[in-house]
Amino acid sequence: MQTTASPSLPATRQTASVRAPGPARPYGRYLYLAINIAILVFLLAPIAIVVVFALNPTPFIQFPPVGVSLRWFEKFFASRDFMHALGFSLEVAVLTTLSATALGASAALALARGNLPGARLIVATMLSPLMLPAILTGLALFQTYVLLDVGRPTWGLVAGHTLVTLPYVVRTTLAVLHNFDLRLEEAAQNLGASPVRTFFEVTLPLIKPGVLAGAIFAFIVSFDQFPVSLFLVSPGNETLPVTLFNYLKFDLDGTIGAASVVSIVLAFVVVIGLDRTVGLRSYVKL
């Protein structure tokens, strides 16, 4: 019944399986779970530390914490620099997400379906911004902007961010497109739809979650992006990571913990919100 050589079913539906994940025998299963829990602890421990630190009133690294205090949160929210940086980071992240998603998804479509010559080479090239140290990309862009005498405008920063987030969108969209069951399109066309209509009514809705997953990565990476921003921000328009990094040079206190907690909460709201509305489950993959 399978017409394709690939041993997987269309990715639009997970196969129902009778057994729970992991090996069947109890010891093997416990080991599996234990390993995974340990890994989760490893992943989350530093986050917990950050939260503890954000609440500890002492103005330097200290363990065990001496108390619970909201002073760092107060300082963070009262700081014009941090608030402005937070807002600016969000603004840049949203703009970056929009442009990276638009450009990346369309590029992925072209690469998967457009029969471009040298498609593999083009894919590798599109992924290469990840390979180059971002600090060089940042400096190179700064140098170019100076050369073109455009200064350090916000769109220049957005362009830099788009460059380094585009690969993620391309990857997620390509992944979805590769597992796309062409028979669905064939069926639509057999039923009389034109290629354009098929594209808009079958293809696009089906790849939408993949594209959105890429958009999430673009948002996260842009919000957190440091080396490119370092050279491309201008006074008064700094992103949060740059402001934090500069702050760290002079003050190693809980304010950065507070900033971090706020960032996490914010990003969770975004991710969970999207998960509820769109259902990202199968598509938040690279």
Partner: protein, 352 residues
């Protein structure tokens, strides 16, 4: 079917309107078109706080301008990459080592005109000596910082830093990127060799300094000292005294061989279009009342002889000609000429 437009096209539309939005946001850094803008650099932390809160606004209202401060260190690469006729800063504020490098590259004017900055007449000789480009508006003394609760006694000399009892809690700097570290290297030449330029003696001394924890900025050193990660370190007096009143178990030691000078230096870029305002700014920063306010906030020693600090600051900072004459100024021109090879050597020495 409107639905047929699909998410992709909607996104395209959003991108288009976003680009229009970006265009309006994207004006380069002129805040208000009418007020002239003076672009300077400045540190963050306590310096940045007081500049933003008091000194900056006072300057802006007196001179009817806007002050735009870049506090994203490093400054010099950005200045270097911008064109000579349209530099991204009008006034560069950084330490002596970088000012010398900037002067060598032609990025800043080596001398300030005393006719345009009258307050220059009132500064101590070190502030405009031949070891300085531009003018030093403040200085700090580089010496030893230590914990007072660990029973360290009898610390009087630079050479105490090499005492094995500080193994594991000794603090120093990443020499390639930090001027205290660089000045300290030259000090090692004086301590163990024939003088500041005796690099071989300095390298040998640095080898013997290990194990040592190194950081790139004094702020990090301050924190390590406060948390106890470090118990004895090279630091400037400001880094210890600025925690005055917080009952911290730290103290500053002026070694018997002398303290090194860590200058805060201002220079003007040759291509600046705001020369008048720039000179006014330098002059402003040398005013006694401005100097006093800044000195007492961050515990810098003011360069203006006429400044009268409150008693507790006066006692610890360098505020008399005799105290100031003991400052050791190093030859940055000489050092910068050899920086590449020194860095190469030092990176090797401090490899883990």
């Amino acid at each position: 079917m409107m639905k047929a437009l699909g998410p992709l096209s909607r996104r395209r539309f959003l991108t288009a309107s976003a680009s229009l939005g970006i265009g309006t946001i994207a004006a380069p850094y002129v805040a208000r078109a009418d007020d002239p803008t003076l672009r300077i650099t400045g540190w963050g932390g306590k310096w940045g706080d007081i500049m933003k809160a008091e000194i900056g606004p006072a300057f802006e209202s007196e001179f009817k301008c806007k002050l735009q401060t870049d506090s994203a260190f490093p400054y010099l690469p950005k200045l270097q990459a911008s064109s000579r006729s349209a530099p991204i800063y009008d006034v560069l504020h950084t330490n002596s080592n970088e000012q010398w490098a900037a002067a060598e590259m032609g990025l800043v004017e080596p001398k300030i005109d005393p006719k345009l900055v009258p307050n220059l007449a009132d500064v101590y000789p070190y502030a405009i000596s031949d070891k300085i480009v531009g003018v030093s508006i403040f200085t700090s003394a580089i010496g030893l910082g230590m914990r007072t609760d660990k029973g360290y006694s009898g610390v009087t000399s630079w050479k105490d830093l090499w005492d094995p009892k500080y193994n594991g809690v000794r603090g120093g700097y990443v020499i390639p990127v930090n001027s205290l570290g660089q000045a300290f290297l030259m000090m090692c030449g004086t301590l163990f060799g024939k003088g500041q330029t005796d690099l071989d003696a300095a390298y040998a001394a640095l080898e013997k300094l290990k194990p040592i924890k190194i950081v790139d900025f004094t702020g990090a050193m301050e924190k390590m000292l406060l948390s106890g990660e470090v118990g004895m370190c090279v630091i400037h007096d400001s880094g210890i005294y600025r925690y005055d009143g917080q009952n911290q178990p730290t103290d500053f030691v002026s070694p018997s061989e002398g303290v090194l000078s860590l200058e805060q230096v201002l220079t003007i870029t040759p291509g600046s279009k705001m020369k008048e305002l720039a000179n006014a700014y330098v002059n402003y920063m040398l005013r006694p009342e401005v100097q006093k306010r800044l000195a007492e906030t961050v515990w810098y020693s003011p360069a203006n002889k006429k400044v009268k600090l409150d008693a507790k600051y006066d006692a610890k900072l360098l505020t008399t000609p005799e105290k100031v004459s003991k400052l050791i100024q190093v030859d940055w021109k000489w050092y910068n000429e050899r920086k590449d090879e020194i860095d190469q050597r030092v990176n090797r020495i401090f490899r883990a």
